[in-house]
């Protein structure tokens, strides 16, 4: 599973903070290209598999508001 965060709207700092908060639920890997910050999720906790992507995006967005 992967999520592409547009660099214009999401900061790497917020994404890293969110990963710290979610590290118990999956293994995260970050790749950065010109436009996006790509976050790959592996070994996702089976209980949160259905919602982890959206919840993670919301969490990053919440951190952006406070940034």
């Amino acid at each position: 599973m992967s999520i592409n965060f547009n660099k214009d709207f999401y900061s790497l700092e917020a994404i890293k903070k969110a990963i710290q908060g979610y590290k118990g639920l999956a293994d995260f890997d970050i790749k950065i290209d010109k436009k996006n910050i790509k976050v790959n999720l592996k070994n996702i906790d089976p209980d949160s598999k259905d919602v982890i992507k959206e919840e993670f995006c919301n969490y990053v967005l919440g951190l952006m508001k406070n940034a």
Partner: protein, 143 residues
Amino acid sequence: MEIKKKKNQFLISLNPKIYPLEAVYGACYVFIDRAYLFLDGNPEKEIKVFIKGKEELNSKELEKIAGEFKNELLNYTLRLSIAKNTRKIRETIVERALFSALPHQEEEFFPEKEKRGEKEKKLVEEDPLGIAIPWEEKYGKKK
């Protein structure tokens, strides 16, 4: 503003010249507990906000959320505009409040006040109207 609806989700396209990015973040934050939100697009030309219901929502409920989101956007845009317009006066008030909390430094920044104080002191010492002379001394019967 353009809205495209899909099953349980919709996309709102916004003009960043009307709705600043900061206002979009603010409005999104209000809905974070009710919906899943995702931002994309170009902050100079078009901001795309993807909104997906946390629970299965029918068309009416989606419309309601879209309407509330639009209202919240306007609310945040106005708040930002007011904050921008009143920034200088707010800063002045805070500066003045901080200065008055430092009595010794106040004289440094407002030397006229100090001069005025000296003038008043001089007048008291000179007492040209004889206010400081006791009544008995001034008008009392001479023994």
